[in-house]
Homo-oligomer: 325 residues x 2
């Protein structure tokens, strides 16, 4: 199997090469490049007709780039991405992507949009395509929120843990991007659409852990006033513990593809309660896995596992295209 | 995607049809068939040249059938199976199968040989093929032994639970086939070979839970004298509990592909200790998943989940062959 890296781009500039870019020194060459990004030229260069297959890998979080997938797929350029923007775009666009794949044979692979390298999407696709009936998917889908709630035991204020998590690089630069629950909500939509749910992100009830008083203020002020979050969490924690349960932030999808993202409490035997650290945990309750769900657990974020997952998607695509691996 | 069922066979007879056998009434037709099984004729019929692709699915546990895979694969008949006999045959035969796949493009898919429908083999293949370094695989790989040890708490003799498990159909007809650990040992070999281990089943240290005194006697006598197993288990259980640990029967593979199958004890936070019922639990400790392993958990045996897994392999094969699904 021969892979030629024919182009690399960031949001500003690009490096194109007819011979293939050596992954050993791409950074040097890319830094020296002063060609402005031109996505049309980039896609045209990638899909040069003398190569049998073309692939664009989008490792950005850009909505604009995601807006180009449909055009690429229609032009028989495969797309692999950990970018959630296409999978959570308005349903009509998502449908357009799926239809483009069916009509052209192009592949849109996005395993890493949920749980990074964990085999979540493919497991779900396998269940659905082989006729299993999925009753419910539940997941601790945010490593940040997983760490916060598996660490919080009432002894140290929640706000202190948020500051720690930020320092350790566990949170987004603005921790509200994690605490808002939006990331979890988006992931539930990606999963729901695998079940055929015609759901939009805007339809998902998402419980934000950011008090209204802390929305719409600057990041510095937010970090200063972080203690305002503490009473809410402490109250929820005490209620959970009084029932012998544990607090976890969870995304759910029901059998009709309805989604929800919220704080919940779970008994000590529940896989969520047993999760530690930044582990993602995803449960599939189906006809086949009814009394005992199928559970996948492990780090669901991070550069290495995400890169590994993207690489898996490349190999999967290669197999689809006839590679013997 | 059009699937034509062109032949069905058991160990004695077969039913061949040029037009395709309707899955709705195959049983009636098969029962009426009185054509003796002729595997050469069967394979020739399956691979009639006017169909683009040929597949034989072996749902037996036959070593003899597994011995035909190499010939089928060389003749461009794909093979899908939950039968562990080929994956645990002498390494030279296993290698012959893999080489046949690489040279002809035929596919040998056997996801269901470990953990039934759970995504174990593909997850491992993905890790290995994308360059992760697997340090250790540990698994509760027998649903029967999982149930016995997660249920046993010293209050009821182990032998009583074995009798219960037999009545509920959780064990093989002869429970020694489970208690010998051989099934777990075989599964470790299948996993080790994915890591490149040139290991034979005979090389695996396998701890049998069957006392020597109960080996080589008839099934009825074994079931009568089952109590002789109790002191061994009780002793191991007490030792584990005195350390606050839980007893589990586990198969392990190390980074060099060395295997082992034995009773071990695990702390309360270990995923094995938290497993209940007949759940299989498989842990991958790798460079990417080092401090927190990748864990897959769920029922790893049973008709529905195994059939679902075989169906997944059929769809995977179809995708490799160009189906747009």
């Amino acid at each position: 199997m021969a892979i030629h890296i024919r182009g690399i781009a960031n949001s500003k500039k690009m490096l194109l090469d007819d011979e293939g870019i050596d992954p050993g020194n791409w950074r040097d060459r890319f830094e020296k490049s002063n060609v402005d990004l031109d996505l049309t030229a980039f896609a045209a260069h990638i899909s040069a007709t003398y190569f049998p297959h073309s692939l664009i890998i989008d490792c950005s979080t850009s909505s604009e780039l995601a807006g180009h997938y449909a055009g690429w797929l229609k032009n028989r350029i495969h797309v692999i991405t950990p970018n959630k923007k296409a999978g959570t775009a308005e349903y009509s666009y998502y449908k357009e992507l799926m239809d483009a794949c069916l009509s052209t044979g192009s592949r849109f692979l996005y395993e890493t949009t949920v749980g990074a390298g964990l085999p979540v999407i493919w497991t779900l696709k396998d269940l659905v395509q082989t006729g299993d009936h999925v009753h419910r998917i539940e997941g601790m889908l945010s490593g940040t929120l997983a760490w916060l709630f598996s660490t919080y035991d009432g002894s140290v204020p929640f706000s202190t843990l948020v500051r720690q998590a930020k320092e350790m690089g566990y949170t987004e630069p603005d921790p509200r991007d994690d605490l808002s629950g939006m990331d979890v909500g988006r992931k539930t939509v990606i999963l729901a659409r695998e079940l055929g749910g015609k759901i939009e992100v805007a339809d998902v009830p998402i419980q934000s852990l950011v008090p209204e008083s802390l929305e719409g203020i600057g990041l510095d002020e937010f970090m200063e006033r972080l203690e305002e979050i503490d009473p809410i969490i402490e109250q929820a924690y005490r209620t959970a513990r009084s029932k012998g349960e544990f607090l976890r932030y969870v995304g759910t999808v029901d059998e009709e593809g309805n989604c929800e993202a919220r704080l919940g409490s779970f008994g000590p035997d529940h896989p969520f309660s047993q999760a530690t650290g930044t582990d993602n945990v995803i449960l599939f309750v189906t006809d086949r896995y009814r009394t005992q769900p199928l559970v996948i657990k492990g780090p669901g974020a991070g550069r290495e596992v995400t890169a590994g997952g993207v690489f898996s998607d490349i190999l999967r695509l290669s197999s689809y295209l006839g590679a013997r691996i």
